[in-house]
């Protein structure tokens, strides 16, 4: 199902013409309305007239998270406050929160792209969408909410948490689409299993899962446990919130809604743009936003772009599932490790519940990595050697994938903190020192 066929299946040439026209307008807008952007452009010796082609985008300076913090709260807004009808913000646990603002038209744009996302998962006016992303300052809940309303679906605005109630209402209200983080979906699946609710009691058809990187193995797990189609969705508040990109049922990458966002992939070290097909950091320029546009925003998310046509008919480029974050990446003895790599090993072995945490520490001058994995009933054996064998198997697989030795530690079920939002996968004890 394609929500906006003219836009989503537009010939690339036309799409590029539209992007250029919108990009030029954006550059004019920020140059004149946002002193910080103007100063950066002037420092780079650029005026809006220098942007004459899509390639010229590469000449514009990057925007990084620190810029957003430095201009807290409203310094990067490109519309007067009387036109701003909504603000959202990050939790600000690591400094000033990131504040983003939306004009009325921005909210329309946002609803449009989340409607496309929901349509990707098969939602239409008959759908019952249970929104279990957090509501409030976090963009997840309200973002999906407005998209679902735009489609004409029935929205159940659950927000996160209160798992028993989530499951009761999921049955009673006949939710067909579940929207939440993949880790919370897994938690819900476990609870459904424990409550021994037969699958016939649920009408769920699909889940749109985002806000944290997840793996193919996790998809298989969720699809198997919940008997649904699990779709990866992508977005971040700095760009708009959910709705930046979404998988279609082909599940071969997430279509970036390019009539609103221009993606680039750069080498995070050299900051040079990389061609399609190469892995690097995702960078976005919002070309239709009025309240809080960003130019070449560095997301820290690691992905690859593909431009080949998709069998679904959409012409927008696809980004591969985010494989990690350049700032989530932990460096252990010089080796880059992403939590998602550990997850894929565990799920591939099929040995354990996919609940795990990476514990990084420093002993003397040496970094150590421990992977704590919950023991499931399935793998429990009353013989020590069997459990030790499992530890060794996981260790060996991790070693061959990561090229470093991790100590695997089996822990009791439910002893790793469950998350109702984004899962915490890394405990880095080195930072205290």
């Amino acid at each position: 199902m394609i929500w906006n066929r003219p836009m989503e299946t537009m010939a690339r040439k036309e799409l590029q013409a539209l992007q250029l026209q919108r990009l030029k307008a954006l550059v004019e807008r920020v140059y004149h309305n946002v002193p910080a952007y103007r100063e950066k452009m002037q420092a780079a010796g650029l005026t809006p007239r220098d942007v004459q082609s899509l390639e010229d985008l590469r000449r514009l300076p990057f925007t990084v998270k620190q810029d957003l913090r430095d201009h807290y709260p409203y310094g990067l807004f490109a519309a007067p406050m009387r036109e701003i009808v909504r603000v959202h913000a990050s939790s600000g646990t690591t400094g000033n929160p990131i504040v983003v603002g939306y004009t009325r038209r921005d909210l329309d744009t946002w609803s449009e792209v989340t409607a496309r996302t929901l349509a990707c998962a098969g939602a239409d006016a008959d759908a019952v969408v249970q929104v279990s992303y957090g509501y409030g300052l976090f963009t997840g809940g309200l973002g999906i909410h407005y998209g679902a309303e735009k489609i004409g679906a029935t929205v159940v605005p659950m927000s996160g948490g209160n798992t028993q109630r989530q499951i009761k209402l999921m049955q009673d209200f006949g939710a067909t689409i579940l929207a939440c983080t993949p880790s919370y979906a897994l938690y819900l699946a476990e609870a459904i299993q424990e409550m021994k609710i037969p699958r016939e009691k649920l009408r769920l058809k699909a889940g749109i899962f985002g806000a944290e990187p997840w793996t193919e193995e996790m998809r298989r797990e969720l699809e198997y446990r919940l008997q649904i189609m699990a779709i990866d969705i992508y977005g971040l508040s700095e760009v708009i919130g959910p709705g930046v990109a979404s998988e279609c049922p082909v599940k071969n990458g997430l279509h970036i809604f390019e009539d609103h966002f221009i993606p680039e992939i750069i080498d995070p070290e050299t900051e040079q743009p990389l061609p399609y097909g190469e892995k690097g950091e995702l960078v976005f320029t919002t070309i239709t936003k009025e309240g809080f546009p960003v130019i070449r925003y560095r997301t820290r998310d690691i992905s690859v772009l593909h431009a080949e046509p998709c069998p679904c008919g959409r012409t927008h480029v696809r980004m591969e599932k985010v494989s990690g974050r350049s700032d989530d990446m932990i460096i252990i003895r010089g080796v880059n490790v992403f939590p998602s790599q550990v997850e894929s090993v565990l799920l591939k072995l099929g040995l354990t519940e996919p609940h795990y945490v990476l514990v990084v520490d420093r002993v003397g001058s040496l970094d150590t990595l421990e992977v704590w994995v919950e023991v499931s009933d399935k793998l429990f054996s009353d013989e020590v050697r069997n459990l030790e064998k499992i530890e060794r198997t996981i260790q060996r697989e991790l070693e061959s994938l990561l090229g470093l030795t991790a100590r695997v530690r089996l822990v009791e079920p439910k002893s790793i903190e469950r998350s109702e939002g984004k899962a915490k996968r890394v405990i880095d004890r080195r930072k205290k020192q």
């Binding site: 009353d382 013989e383 459990l387 530690r409 089996l410 822990v411 009791e412 079920p413 002893s415």
Partner: protein, 143 residues
């Protein structure tokens, strides 16, 4: 002849064993014998109790990873070489012992040992053939 043993996964952290025994106490389940096999990170607690099925359910409900394993309880003559005789019989039948531990015996002069062996049925058969006392499960639960 097969005795149900309860096996529990325990992380090596303080209070877990205390918590577990409390659950059993609340359910008025009596422990007949216990043994812990431990490694640096975790231990496996093995229990013989008077109501194995109830214990299994209660511990599971309390969030422990539990399994039931069939073992045998064997009477050993209480004199030097007593255990060796039994082990000799099993060795003769080429039956490996996964682990074993002693069970207290209240009233008679024989020692009791719990064995987890491979080929359980065959082990029972050879022991009985040699006249070794393999206890019936009810008598073990009721010790």
């Amino acid at each position: 002849m097969k005795v149900q043993q309860i096996s529990v996964f325990l992380e090596n952290k303080s209070g877990r064993l205390a918590m577990l025994t409390k659950v059993l106490a609340q359910e008025k389940i009596n422990i007949r014998a216990l043994s812990i096999a431990d490694t640096t990170d975790f231990g496996i607690l093995r229990l013989i109790v008077d109501q194995p099925d109830a214990a299994y359910l209660m511990l599971k409900r309390a969030g422990f990873t539990v399994s039931e394993t069939a073992v045998i309880a064997v009477e050993i003559p209480d004199h030097p070489g007593g255990l060796a005789e039994i082990l000799d019989i099993l060795a003769g039948a080429e039956i490996n012992i996964e682990y074993c531990y002693a069970l207290p015996q209240k009233s008679n002069d024989k020692a009791l040992v719990v064995f987890r062996v491979e080929r359980l049925d065959e082990a029972i058969r050879v022991l009985l053939e040699k006249g070794v006392g393999v206890l019936k499960e009810d008598s073990v639960y009721g010790i």
